[in-house]
Amino acid sequence: MTVTKAESGHGGSDDNGDMPGASGDGYVPSQRRLDRERYKRARARRATAIAALSTLVTAVVLYLVVVNAPGWPRTKETFFDWQYAREAFPKVLEGLWLNVRLLLICGVAVLVLGMLIAVARTLRGPVFFPLRALAAAYTDFFRGLPLIINLMIVVLGVPALRLQGVTVDPVLLGGTALTLTYSAYVAEVFRAGIESVHPSQRAAARSLGLTNRQALRHVVLPQAVRRQVPPLLNDLVSLQKDTGLVSIGGAVDAVRAADIIVGRSLNYTPYIVAGLVFVALTIPMTRLTDWVTARMDRRRAQGGAL
């Protein structure tokens, strides 16, 4: 049984492994061990009780504060109306399908573009100077530019140009804007990964006669990508909720679907519904990120080089 550092600090009786009779050598736990385990169990019970009580108190206090607020009756009516929630839910879900598709397509585009930009920034040699400079300028610009402004420029500005053959579809343009911004973030994540691979790995690859490009392709990038999985997933979670911003161009996603009902009824409950739906969509992704991160940390703790 592996006991990681974090677990071993508060180990209960169940992770000692050495149960009476299990090892077949006639081991009988000493009184000292039994006392120790009884004390640990008592302490664990007390901790649980304190946590439950403190949660309950906090919840009650929050509830009383909100319910006794002077504007509560009115807020309740405009934000938490069951009738409107029921009406909005199917429409919002329908809109959400667009967000999911945007996430999938933009996610792939962002990973590809981000990787290309990151690699462009690590290229050596004078020939690549313009490419390097361009990639650096790109990341600087799009990481600094607020996403909402980027969206407005692309979604509203491009159609205004009335170019022949260029789409005016708010979904495509919105997706393009999201991809532009997120590629800049993801490129930096990849670049950090590339730089975190120890130079001795590159030296080993070059000493085997691999060219710079081969060393990057077979030795550096695979390690860099593996290490950066947690931050990449984090950016995907972020992208997932930001797909809601394409609604500013009029694309009917979950947010816009809520918007339509709000506009008609002047009741804000559909926004709450849309918000909760996004949260519900994000939670599995966040848990996946946590799980992957924990798994990689565990590997590292076991002495793996990755």
């Binding site: 001795s200 080993a204 085997l208 695979p222 990755l306």
Partner: protein, 250 residues
Amino acid sequence: MSDAPVLRMESVRKTFGGSVVLRDVDLEVAPHTVTALIGASGSGKSTLLRCANLLEDIDDGAIWLDGEEITDPRVDQDGVRRRIGVVFQAYNLFPHMTVLENITLAPRRVHGVSRTEAEARARELLERLGLADKAGEYPDRLSGGQQQRVAIVRALAVRPRLLLLDEITAALDPELVGEVLTVVRDLKEDGMTMVLATHEMGFARDVADQVCFLDGGVVLEHGTAEQIFGDPQQERTQQFLRRIVEAGRL
């Protein structure tokens, strides 16, 4: 095969920032011989090896591999490295690849050997070094001695003309040093030309045809193992060896 030196260095100078790491280094390595570089830490042994493999650019002087000047900037550096195998102190295996993938990477990608052929050769070498059952393992599942032997196999897989060994036992637990040194002895039997930087003086004395004592970036003294260990001429060499003996390492 002729007796023309495999590796020749002439007046090699290397500086890092302001400090001179190698000064006027001359070295000749004859085919099928073993050259041991000895000296204190920081005396320039590792840098000398890195220069020979073009992992470092030298400031002055010249290096020849099989009569070709490899320090000529017009030379294809990747082509030169293909003919030289290197084993590092920290093994530097690729952690995301299995043992077999580590070994077959260069033969397949650089030398265009087919996968079947590369794997057959890799397995044959692993067999010889007693690692046949480790082919599918990842490096972090192996002991230090096993990792270092895999690193040696990886270097040998491309049939190098010259093998550079950079303190390959320095990171190993004492009981694992022997298994790695045995491999080096076997390679010498096979006629592999090697240059090794080492702190294992007993081993250097046994296996080396030529010993070079480096001190402050200068080859202060060189000769056969008997000459250097039995009758060192320079005072610095005598001091160094005396300290080694006192430390119980010879």
